[in-house]
């Protein structure tokens, strides 16, 4: 199955310059997301999953800094290396081509603005033209209808009118003909009013300051109505009951599950190519978890997007993901198809991870040792001090990340790869 | 204890890294040096070093302030009783400033701590009543209420402020020894005891039981100040109260008092320390302001605010202001630097403790 990849992360390096020292959070991450797939990104807390996802959108907050590597975005209107894109392209990318949902949804929503404010915001940036067009159509439809009714009334009146002589009859005929012509022209040249003209001008020249200034004089009622309608539609698509009421609510009035749905709706509202989901269900109840997971998968199918699903829950991975990437201490150490990963794990860490899943009747098995400190890390493979297969070379050289079997990549000296 | 020590070391390192904080510390150290060396720098003329010597010879020549000369390095402030040496006032005023600042802050802090802790810990009606009470006091702008209280306080009650502080700090020391010998708290308390002792005994013993005007002011500012601390500590305790380790402590049978001292206070005390540090400067400003209005230390007392207050009568016209500028500028600069020092330290503490508090 050769699917094209939409995002290619190559040798990504991210460092955090903190008071305690320089934390080498990402040490050459290689990741590739294909079109329409669900890629699971697993790893322990602190291994760098979130940083990777934030990097894709260049959202790494200070004191973090992306210091090396490339993130190639290969789809949609904005292509190229995300790390070198102009601010303008970056803003077009965010929210429209790539969007993100987070772990604690209520914390990630601004508490002083209502739900419809925040969802509407995204649409205003990326879908403004579409909504303006909707507004135009809606108003024109109404105007046409009103005019038609008026004209129809006129026609009826004309019909009922009695004529006294031939001259009157001719005049009447003339008027009737004019009326018919007007009625037939309605569809092609609709009547207009100030609001519609403003909208049309906005569609034609979105950046013009003159038009923006003129737009201030209009209440833009229809536009706001259309925006609200769109917000409600989006809310309905994530199965929120009574969306009109919810739209007016504030984040602190929402439950965790509802807030997460809203965040999802916000992320999907502009039909992104890639959705990054950073542990979206970790803080939710188990039953809600299942609901949200199903929702995400269903929506993805409908939109044809790809999903980068970040989690530390292997059960979710097994259930929903098509491919898996395993991360440890700032490196991707194994990437493969999900069945392949679970049945035939190659990297010692992956194996240990799968072994440590609690099974009834068996004793607990954990991985001995601790995750290494990422401040001044040791050279070589970062797992070597906990690895049961560690060799001399593992202490000195970092293993390269390469394709051991078709579509199965590993970074481990056990499988060679050094030229 | 180990993680605590590591925390303090980290904190010190952070303080060292901030140049503003170091500047603040240096300023304060300079003032401490002045305070300690006061008897050397400006030898006292009478048994009470805080009474400024009056140069009557110079007063006979001219009653108005004189600019700096070799005899009087900073110049003098005039009065009919004799010229007061500004240098002397500034040097001994340093000790007064420290006394006022530290004692009043310590007192307000203790009262606020007790009331705030009680209100937060026991909640319910006690909390409501105490909080309404603090609301009423906070409803007054600080200076206004302090002024009112300083005036209305009866002229003589049988104790003065330093004696009160001494008694309170001794009680606290006994409490600490009985319940939980915490070295840090004991060290701070020891300092306060030493301070109060010094304050008490620096008065000649016959000035006993009347309240000097300065004492009234100190009482007044304390009464105005404690609600601030009460509110802060109450907020912190409300936050900490519901944490698991408090439940655990109660579940293991600790008395309320033990739980408070051992678990709740150490985790909620940092914001108060920041407020206290910043407050010392603020209180010195308030005292100076009150002295400026005329409600402060007596006329011949060595206090910066008092000196500036006297300056008022000598700047009534345009020329006089320029001529006698030194009378308010010099003590004024002392005040400014003193307050800046404490403010820098307080800011640095806040910058350092803030991320640490968040990490919890």
């Amino acid at each position: 199955m050769s699917q094209e990849s939409i995002v290619d992360v190559r040798d990504l390096e991210v460092k955090f310059y903190t008071y305690a020292g320089i934390v080498e959070a990402l040490d050459g991450v290689n990741l590739s997301i294909k079109k329409g797939e669900i890629l699971g990104l697993v790893g322990e807390t602190g291994c760098g999953k979130s940083v990777t996802s934030l990097s894709i959108m260049r959202l790494v907050p200070p004191p973090g800094k992306i210091v090396g590597g490339r993130i190639l975005y290969k789809y949609g209107s904005v292509q190229g290396n995300v790390l070198e894109m102009s601010d303008h392209s970056l803003r077009k990318l965010r929210g429209k081509d790539v969007s993100m949902i987070f772990q604690e949804p209520r914390a990630y929503l601004n508490p002083v603005y209502s739900v419809e404010d925040q969802i509407g915001e995204v649409m205003l940036v990326h879908k403004k033209e579409e909504i303006l067009q909707n507004a135009v159509s809606a108003i024109e439809k109404k105007l046409i209808e009103n005019r038609r009714i008026a004209l129809e009334k006129q026609r009826v009146r004309l019909e009922k009118q009695k004529t006294r002589n031939k001259k009157d009859k001719m005049k009447l005929e003339e008027r009737r003909a004019r009326l018919e012509k007007e009625i037939s022209k309605l569809a092609s040249k609709p009547p207009s009013n100030f609001e519609v003209r403003i909208y049309k001008r906005l569609i034609r020249s979105p950046r013009s300051r003159i038009v923006a200034f003129q737009a201030r004089f209009s209440r833009k009622r229809q536009f706001k109505k259309e925006l609200r309608k769109e917000v409600v539609r989006v809310l309905r698509s994530v199965e929120i009951p009574d969306p009109e009421r919810v739209a007016r609510m504030y984040p602190h009035e929402l439950s965790g599950g509802m807030a997460q749905r809203i965040v999802i709706s916000m992320a999907l509202s502009c039909n992104p190519t890639l959705l990054i989901a950073d542990e979206p269900t970790t803080n939710l109840d188990v039953t809600v978890q299942a609901q949200i997971l199903n929702l995400i998968v269903t929506l993805k199918k409908g939109l044809g997007s790809s999903i980068l699903y970040i989690t530390h829950d292997l059960g979710v991975v097994a259930q929903s993901c098509e491919r898996v990437a395993v991360m440890y201490a700032g490196n991707i150490i194994e990437t493969a198809d999900v069945f392949e990963t679970f049945s035939n794990p190659l990297h010692p860490y992956t194996r240990a991870l799968l072994r440590s899943i609690p099974r009834p009747g068996e004793p607990f098995r954990s991985i001995p040792g601790f995750v290494p400190s990422l401040v001044n890390p040791l050279p070589g493979c970062r797992f070597h001090d906990r690895c049961e297969y560690a060799m001399e070379i593992c202490r000195k050289t970092k293993p390269p990340f390469f394709e051991v079997k078709p579509s199965h990549y590993v970074a481990c000296h056990l499988y060679g790869g050094l030229k | 204890m180990r993680p605590r020590i590591a925390e303090w070391r980290f904190m010190l390192k952070r303080i060292r890294q901030s140049s503003l904080a170091v500047a603040g510390l240096l300023i304060l150290l300079a003032f401490v040096a002045i305070a300690v060396l006061a008897p050397v720098l400006a030898p006292p003329y009478s048994s009470d070093p805080f009474i400024v010597p009056a140069d009557r010879l110079l007063a006979a020549v001219t009653p108005s302030p004189t600019p700096p000369t070799t005899a009087h390095i900073f110049g003098t402030i005039g009065s009919d009783q004799g010229q007061f040496d500004l240098y002397y006032i500034c040097i001994w005023g340093t000790i007064t400033a420290f006394r006022v600042g530290v004692l009043v802050v310590a007192a307000s802090l203790l009262i606020g701590l007790i009331i705030g802790t009680a209100a937060a810990f026991y909640g319910g009606i006690l909390d409501e009543v105490l909080m309404r009470f603090t609301d009423v006091i906070i409803a007054f702008p600080t200076l206004v209420l302090a002024m009112v209280l300083a005036i209305a306080f009866p002229g003589s009650i049988p104790i003065n402020f330093s004696m009160v502080m001494l008694a309170v700090s001794l009680i606290v020391m006994f409490a600490l020894l009985a319940i939980r010998p915490d070295r840090r708290l004991m060290l701070v308390d020891l300092l306060i005891i030493v301070f109060s002792l010094y304050s008490v005994f620096s008065f000649p013993l016959n000035v006993q039981l009347g309240l000097s005007q300065l004492d009234k002011v100190l009482f007044a500012i304390t009464i105005v100040g404690w609600p601030g601390y009460a509110r802060v500590i109450r907020g912190e305790i409300m936050r900490v109260k519901n944490e698991d380790y408090v439940e655990a402590s109660k579940a293991s049978g600790s008395s309320d008092f033990r739980t408070i001292i051992k678990h709740i206070l150490p985790n909620s005390i940092y914001p108060i320390l920041i407020v206290a540090t910043l407050d010392i400067g603020s209180i010195v400003l308030t005292t100076a302001a009150l002295a400026f209005i005329g409600v402060g230390a007596p006329v011949n007392y060595a206090d910066w605010g008092q000196a500036i207050s006297r300056a008022q009568s000598w700047i009534s016209s345009a020329d006089l202001i320029i001529k006698n500028m030194h009378v308010f500028v010099i003590p004024g600069l002392f005040i400014v630097f003193f307050v800046v020092g404490w403010n820098l330290l307080g800011d640095a503490l806040r910058d350092v403790l803030d991320p640490m508090m968040r990490r919890r």
Partner: protein, 346 residues
């Protein structure tokens, strides 16, 4: 919206209670005073108050229990009788009413400057963290807050009055004041010469008053703006570190929108509370600043009264000050509820 309404009602009720508490506190303080001074609280006649003391003591039963006296005193206050000032030989309420407009004159200029400049610099300081702009504003903030107001005032006077002979103390220059008192038809509409001058058709009086407001305004602004800058800065920094800012950026919003629409609105919440308290304090009288400049407003009234141990006057002033403070706080709370929807629920 009924939530907002209920909230307002609740706050109003609390306001009444706090004001009652304030009056009780003041009254308790008066009980510390000797009898004949307390009598002055009930007398409204500046001419012959000495003779009136004895009869007043009897008439108002100043030897009765606390609550009875409190009741009587409170009813007097509510009728507008705050007593007589021995020092000023004036009914206190009248003295306050005369002088308050002058204080307001300064506050009208000082308050907006403090608030807007403080917010602006605070926000910029937070956005450009650790750049020279930030360091400069932080240094200014620490310095400004450490300055005693009388020092700033006196220094400014020394420079502008003593050295440059430009702006002087007082709310009007002496010559202007003489002129005003000599005008037969000069009506004090607002009590503030800035406006009265215009309303009476003598604009240069307004100009003179305006000039005299400059130095006191600068004094008070220097000190208070420092506090606002510091609070705004730290609040803004905290707001910028919040998760919803990452969401806002992830939505593709322009950085300016992220900062000003999302971060700043949240950051303004604590600043609004602080500003309100600040303005409330200002309206209660700038005791020190007015005294330094001899402005003749409410603050100077309080200072003079205090210096001369005229306790009834000081107490009357304290009541007014507290009431202004409490009402201003209420307004701030309402504003707060408007900005932050979370408050409306409880």
């Amino acid at each position: 919206m009924t939530n907002l309404f209920a909230y307002i009602i609740r706050r109003l009720i609390m306001l009444v209670f706090v004001i009652l508490g304030v009056t009780i506190l003041i009254f308790a303080i008066t009980m510390l005073l000797p009898l004949n001074i307390r009598a002055l609280l009930y007398i409204n006649n500046p001419q012959h108050f000495h003779e009136l003391i004895e009869p007043t003591i009897k008439a108002y039963g100043l030897n009765d229990p606390f609550y009875m006296q409190y009741g009587r005193w409170l009813s007097q206050v509510l009728q507008g009788n705050l007593g007589t000032s021995a020092y000023f030989s004036q009914p206190i309420a009248e003295a306050i009413a005369q002088r308050w407009p002058l204080t307001v004159e300064i506050v009208i200029f000082a308050a907006p400057i403090i608030i807007f400049v403080g917010i602006f610099i605070g926000v910029q300081s937070a956005i450009h963290r650790n750049t020279p702009i930030d360091h400069a504003s932080r240094v200014f903030a620490v310095l400004g807050w450490s300055l005693p107001s009388f020092l700033v005032g006196m220094t400014l006077l020394a420079i502008f009055y003593g050295w440059l002979h430009v702006l002087g103390p007082g709310s009007l220059s002496d010559s202007t004041r003489l002129y005003v008192s000599s005008l037969p038809h000069y009506v004090h509409y607002t009590g503030m010469d800035i406006f009265d001058g215009l309303l009476n058709g003598v604009p240069w009086i307004s100009w003179d008053a305006l000039l005299h407001c400059i130095l006191p305004t600068v004094t008070i602004v220097t000190i208070d703006v420092a506090l606002l800058i510091r609070v705004m800065r730290s609040s803004m920094l905290e707001s910028l570190g919040k998760p919803y800012i990452i969401t806002a950026r992830a939505k593709g919003l322009d950085e300016k929108v992220v900062i000003y629409k999302h971060a700043r609105r949240n950051a303004l919440i604590p600043v609004a509370t602080l500003s309100g308290m600040l303005v409330a304090g200002l309206l209660g009288g700038l005791i020190i600043t007015e005294t330094v400049f001899g402005f003749g407003g409410l603050g100077q009234f309080a200072a003079d009264a205090a210096r001369n141990f005229d306790t009834p006057a000081v107490l009357g002033y304290a009541i007014l000050s507290a009431v202004v403070f409490v009402i201003a706080n209420l307004i701030v709370d309402l504003l707060y509820a408007y900005i932050d929807p979370r408050i409306r629920l409880d």
